[in-house]
């Protein structure tokens, strides 16, 4: 404690990332001297902005193995997910009113699916195995002649597990069903190729990959062509799929962020993975009864989601307040429900309350992690001394054998 004066340590890279200074530098001229509207066709200001947008479109396309003509700029992955699901269902839904997704998807996918259900479409929510991955046989069994689209996220935002995209793509292509994947947490973190993985639509976020907030993209396959009904209408920009003046500086930033990620991903992942494994090892060496949530190996480099049994997550966060991490505890959410992702994995509710998500990223240093590990361990030890559940566990009492009065 008394850490308020200490420099805060940011370990929440799945929530957002700082914009890379190289990205900011590339963006700056497009706020001031190169401020033209990229849709102005009859003067040089417009041409200059349009050129910059097209360079960025190409950079975004490259990192996922797509053609620049297949990239639609949006305000972020939430909008992309909305457009992908609602856009496809509204175009194809008369003949194919069925959508398949997964219970551990991001809220914006699940909420889009709920809205579609309310409009009369049918939705199947696939469960996950205890490692957080979907069962491909279950997916196969869920697809019917009425299925228009399957939406499975590439990398889970809470537990970092990587779904088997290539296998999912195969299954979907074979059955003539579109495959959409939310890649907000995956672009720049794992290699992606829309052709090899047979992906038809992909959502991309700027601020998760050291780009600016407020920008994202949707990849929409051209061959075979995927049609979507626009959710935002107006001037018909982005081939009619998304109207609105393109925010040139943000787009330039997203492009640059993709460019950097593409060039540095391999090296960066190796470094981050080493830091992650080091962190987990230090936790395991010092503390008993801790559990890694989500698959140990099918997992993105920068994510650790750990349950520190017998210590409630919010109280842990309060203790380590100079360290920015997030928790799956109910008390940190507005709904007072523990993480639905952890519960979907079959993590006991009491363990879901004790989880921390530690996100390691581009600017994380070993010194910062050492400090964070020490603070977290000290806090866990202090709170366990205060925990009646820890005391019972030490006395050999199985807390599951007690009849608790749920409240």
């Amino acid at each position: 404690m008394n850490e308020l004066k200490a420099k805060p340590i940011y370990l929440d890279y799945q929530a957002t990332t700082p914009t890379d200074p190289r990205v900011v530098e590339t963006m700056l001229p497009y706020f001031t001297e190169k401020f033209g509207n990229p849709h102005s066709r009859n003067h040089s200001f417009g041409w200059e902005a349009e050129d910059a947008v097209e360079v960025a479109r190409d950079q975004v396309a490259k990192i996922i193995g797509a053609s620049s003509k297949e990239i639609i700029f949006t305000s972020g992955a939430t909008e992309s997910n909305n457009l992908a699901l609602k856009g496809v269902m509204k175009f194809y839904g008369k003949k194919k009113p069925h959508l398949i997704t997964v219970v551990t998807e991001h809220k914006c996918v699940l909420d889009s699916a709920r809205h579609l259900e309310q409009e009369g479409f049918k939705v199947t929510y696939l469960g996950v195995k205890d490692n957080g991955l979907i069962d491909l046989e279950q997916l196969k069994a869920a697809i019917t002649d009425e299925t228009a689209i399957v939406s499975v996220m590439a990398v889970n935002n809470e537990i970092g597990v990587i779904q088997p995209l290539k296998e999912i793509g195969e299954i979907c292509r074979e059955r003539g069903v579109f495959f959409h994947t939310d890649c907000a947490q995956a672009v720049g973190k794992i290699p992606l190729d829309v052709d090899e993985m047979k992906i038809d639509l992909m959502s991309i976020s700027g601020h998760k990959i050291y780009g600016p907030k407020g920008i994202g993209a949707l990849y929409v396959r051209r061959r075979p062509r995927v049609r979507v009904i626009a959710q935002i209408t107006g001037g018909g920009q982005e081939r009619g799929m998304r109207s609105g003046t393109l925010p040139t500086p943000l787009i330039v930033g997203l492009g640059k962020a993709c460019d950097i990620a593409m060039n540095e991903m391999a090296e960066e992942n190796a470094r981050i993975m080493e830091l992650r494994d080091y962190t987990m090892k230090r936790f395991r060496d010092r503390l008993a009864d801790i559990y890694l949530n989500g698959d140990e190996t099918q997992r993105v480099a920068g994510n650790l989601n750990v349950s520190f049994a017998y210590v409630e997550g919010e109280s842990l966060l309060m203790d380590i307040k100079n360290i920015a991490v997030s928790s799956g505890s109910a008390c940190t959410s507005a709904s007072l429900e523990p993480s639905y992702v952890l519960r979907a994995l079959g993590v006991d509710e009491e363990l879901a309350h004790t989880s921390l998500r530690i996100g390691i990223g581009r600017y994380t240093t070993r010194e910062e992690l050492d400090q964070a590990i020490d603070s977290i361990c000290v806090a866990v030890e202090r709170l366990r001394e205060m925990s009646p559940l820890w005391e019972m566990a030490q006395e050999g009492i199985d807390i599951k054998s007690i009849e608790w009065a749920e409240h």
Binding site: M318, E349, H353, M386, P388, L389, I399, W404
Partner: protein, 134 residues
């Protein structure tokens, strides 16, 4: 979430953390809450022959508000008679710690815990059992 200074003080420097021998006849133990709900409180009181709480200890699994609520109530019940301690209302705890609305249940849990501890003491000592609050 912005918490009051009093709450943070109780969280950072909790009073009366610990355990007493629950088999002793002078000790009453209350264990309330549920791990699945994210909070469990164990509150113990040591009662003198003339019915005064001479000591109180707690252990809590829960958020900062739950820890602070239990710490505060152990301070309040010391030196009180069982009846006085049993009449402490959760609203008094909530007010003292300025609990935000979503944390009111922490103060309810603390009230339940002291009532359960008193009930346990009375049962053990052959006194009329009072209904512990649910």
């Amino acid at each position: 979430m912005a918490y009051s200074e009093k709450l943070i003080d109780h969280y950072e420097n909790p009073r009366n953390v610990g355990s007493m021998d629950k088999n002793e006849t002078s000790v009453g133990t209350g264990l309330v809450g549920a791990p699945a709900c994210g909070d469990v409180m164990k509150l113990q009181i040591k009662v003198t022959a003339d019915g005064i709480i001479e000591d109180a200890k707690f252990k809590t699994f829960g958020c900062g508000s739950a820890i602070a609520s239990s710490s505060l109530i152990t301070e309040w019940v010391k030196g009180k008679s069982l009846d006085e301690a049993g009449s402490i209302k959760n609203s008094q705890i909530a007010e003292e710690l300025a609990l935000p609305p979503v944390k009111i249940h922490c103060s309810i849990l603390a009230e339940d815990a002291i009532k359960a501890a008193i009930a346990d003491y009375k049962t053990k000592n052959g006194q009329v059992e009072v209904e512990a609050a649910e």
